[in-house]
């Protein structure tokens, strides 16, 4: 579901489903472009950033009504541009709830301060530089 072109022109291809993005297994070195396959088969392409992150968001209901299986609600592709302190976040909806304004495949772009990029919390797994820790810690 992801395809990475590195600055040394090597490439990496991730897993075949959103439940197996393969991002965590990707080599960590300077990145030229990241491609994320969208539900309709098109690509979301991100480039020009010093660091990137990609992950899925899962909800698992443990009490009450509704589906009781893990549901992948969204996939996120994020990047931090050189010289900025903001995270550019692209959220792709993979689940459509009743009364939600988002449909499957909708892309929502937002910008967050570093360290608050996912629902007000930091994320780990950033790639593009040697340090894989949270952008907060680099």
């Amino acid at each position: 579901m992801i395809y990475i072109i590195y600055q040394d022109n090597t490439t990496y291809k991730g897993g075949k489903s959103y439940s197996d993005l393969g991002w965590s297994k990707a080599p960590n070195k300077p990145i030229k472009q990241v491609y994320l396959i969208l539900p309709d088969g098109n690509f979301l392409v991100m480039q020009g950033c010093k660091k990137y992150n990609c992950f899925v968001e899962v909800t698992q209901n443990v009490y009450g009504a509704g589906p009781r299986v893990p549901i992948i609600e969204n996939v996120y592709l994020m990047g931090i541009k050189e010289g900025t302190n903001a995270v550019n976040s692209y959220r792709v909806s993979l689940m459509q709830y009743k009364d939600s304004k988002y449909k499957i495949g909708d892309i929502t772009r937002r910008e967050y301060p570093i360290g608050k990029e996912f629902r007000g919390q930091p994320t780990i797994g950033w790639k593009g530089e040697v340090d894989e820790s949270s952008p907060n810690n680099s």
């Binding site: 965590s24 968001e57 899962v58 909800t59 698992q60 009490y63 994320t123 949270s134």
Partner: protein, 208 residues
């Protein structure tokens, strides 16, 4: 790599980890097992079969005019065995190893426990979720992985945006981890509405 969650309840009075007393823990079948917050009765008790609605109503907790009331029991229905299993240590007493959220791998952010009106996860207006004021939620939860909660603990009143950080604020899980929580429901004194409500408790997590 995919990360998944399993939920285990401690069905004993022994306050110890799943690793130390594995036979006391029961893994929830998340697709069909249920929890009941209840006062309990002869029919709604550990070892009994699945209760009827009438039996659950008879075991409902009464609202007090003078004081807040903690719903005294948390009981799980083991659907496949058709047996009720009490989570004996759940509640505001100083018990640490009650419910275990077992993650089998790393996460990209800190997992959270959340409470919503329904499975749409976009509103928290039920009476038990504070009737529109999430900080007034009746559902108290606390992470106890690193220490016991203390007697008469309050924890986080979870509802909507009031969520429980499951790694105690330490951020994403860098590897597989067993996270322990305790939970209870407390009804405010003289609350004017009696109802049966079924909020949705959800664990939200990420992985790459």
């Amino acid at each position: 790599m995919s990360t998944s969650l399993k939920v285990h309840i401690n069905n004993s009075n022994t306050d110890d980890t799943k690793a130390n007393i594995p036979s006391s823990y029961i893994e929830m079948d998340l697709s069909q097992d249920k929890w009941y917050f209840t006062s309990g009765s002869s029919a709604v008790a550990d070892g009994q079969d699945e209760p009827t609605d009438a039996e659950l109503n008879e075991a409902a907790t009464l609202i007090s005019n003078s004081s807040d009331v903690e719903i005294p029991k948390l009981i799980m229905l083991d659907k496949s065995a058709n047996l009720l299993k009490e989570v004996y240590l759940a509640g505001s007493d100083n018990n640490r190893y009650v419910i275990c959220f077992a993650f089998d791998g790393a996460t990209s952010s800190e997992p959270t426990l959340e409470a919503w009106d329904d499975a749409n996860h976009n509103a928290a207006t039920l009476h038990c979720l504070g009737n529109g004021t999430v900080s007034n939620s009746w559902i108290h939860a606390k992470v106890t992985t690193s220490s016991a909660p203390g007697s008469n603990w309050v924890g986080t009143k979870i509802a909507g945006s009031n969520k429980l950080l499951l790694n105690e604020g330490a951020g994403a899980l860098t590897s597989a981890k067993d996270i322990y929580i305790n939970i209870y429901v407390k009804i405010p004194a003289a609350y004017s509405v009696g109802a049966t409500e079924q909020p949705v408790l959800t664990v939200r997590y990420t992985y790459s």
